[in-house]
Amino acid sequence: MQRQKILVLYTANSALDSPVIGWSVYDGTGQTRPMAGDQDEPPYRTGVDALKDGWRLIQAAQLLPHARGAEFDLAYLKYEFFFEQFVEVQP
């Protein structure tokens, strides 16, 4: 039986080999309970380092043009990459 683990990395620009500036982990195996504020250093230096460690990239943030008149407005982190791993668990 397999369960999914999710890693979300936020990087300094749209390149997957740029530095990680934010991160989250969601563990479908239930073996760990990641939560906000639980780690002050990123698990990987870049997104590529996550690939090297076996994480599979499943989604990357799009690059969108800036709306006229709102070019300087900032909101959410811009460069978001979702990765997955499947982990064998006992039924």
């Binding site: 934010g22 906000a36 639980d38």
Partner: protein, 314 residues
């Protein structure tokens, strides 16, 4: 002159750039003790008893008045109460005056208690940290509110502490829509001595840390608005005598060594989480906030706004 110890230009620039001002151990021990005594005892964990019920009873018993939103801050707390004394401390009143101006308005307050594992085990709930969020709702203003977070007892790292991300306050987000972000480089956790205050810009991203100790953790928060009816809202309310006149822009990019400390240097210091492109937009937004607070519509730092405001085609 107000007679209050106002914030200087460097402290204001720090607040504009990073969105917080931390004052460690500034509340006298006697006042911390009075506050905790007025808040009352927190009931011990009882198996099967929901944590929300424990919390509700604690709020009902605590010596905190219900105060109408929009009340002048000076009328919010009974004279002699710990909270009245807190906002009257010169260091607190001076910071409030500097950041939100004369006759500020009480918005709301709350007694935040974070419970240790025994309470969660007794209630059957999960002991987790709070999702990172920006308080209230989407806020497109340049004007801002402040929130004072008061820590009346010591807070260790094991107790969680308030987590916040310096420099996030100028982002226009919708409350806990950003809850997906568990960790951000440069995040800070409030580990502090008793009587510490954290003043934050209302936009700062923050959340309560999980308490893994065996003690309850208490924090009291007060949100304060500038008064729109005051003739002197939050513009030029700090110690403007500490402002250094800006005769010309600093050299940029090609510099032969570190530049001396200055308001510009503070405003142009990035946070570890800044994205490489939007980090520059953060600089622009900091400059705009500095223009507002100093009432100087031509101010610039490192040429960021001068360049995009050069409408040569017109």
């Amino acid at each position: 002159m107000t007679g209050l110890p106002l914030l200087n230009a460097q402290q204001m620039a720090q607040f504009v750039a990073r969105g917080f001002l931390r004052l460690d151990g500034v509340v006298p021990e006697a006042l911390n003790a009075q506050f905790l005594q007025e808040m009352g005892e927190i009931a011990p964990p009882v198996p099967g008893r929901g944590l929300m019920r424990t919390y509700g009873e604690m709020l009902a018993k605590a010596g905190v008045p219900e105060v109408a939103a929009g009340t002048p801050l000076g009328q919010a707390y009974p004279e002699g109460s710990a909270l009245a004394k807190l906002v009257q401390l010169p260091v607190v009143a001076g910071a409030i005056r500097s950041l939100v101006g004369e006759d500020p308005i009480f918005d709301h307050h709350f007694l935040h208690v974070t419970f240790p594992p025994a309470y969660h085990e007794a209630s059957g709930g999960e002991n987790v940290s709070q999702h990172t969020h920006q308080d209230s709702t989407i806020d497109p203003r340049t004007a801002f509110d402040i929130q004072i977070m008061y820590y009346p007892h010591d807070v260790t790292r094991e107790m969680g502490g308030t987590r916040f991300v310096p420099g996030t306050h100028l982002r226009r987000v919708s409350e806990v829509a950003l809850g997906r972000y568990q960790n951000i480089r440069g995040q800070q956790h409030m580990v502090c001595e008793p009587g510490t205050l954290l003043f934050i810009h209302s936009g700062i991203w923050h959340g309560g840390g999980v308490n893994l100790s065996d003690r309850t953790r208490t924090m009291f928060k007060i949100r304060i608005n500038p008064n729109p009816r005051s003739s002197r809202t939050q513009v030029r309310q700090f110690d403007v005598s500490t402002l250094v006149p800006q005769n010309q822009q600093r050299p940029i990019f090609y510099v032969k060594g570190p530049l001396p400390p200055s308001v510009e240097q503070t405003l142009m210091t990035p946070e570890p989480w800044f994205e490489q492109d939007t980090g520059r937009l953060e600089f622009l937004n900091r400059i705009r906030l500095w223009r507002y607070l100093t009432d100087d519509p031509t101010y610039d730092a490192d040429y960021w706004l001068t360049r995009v405001e050069n409408l040569a085609e017109v």
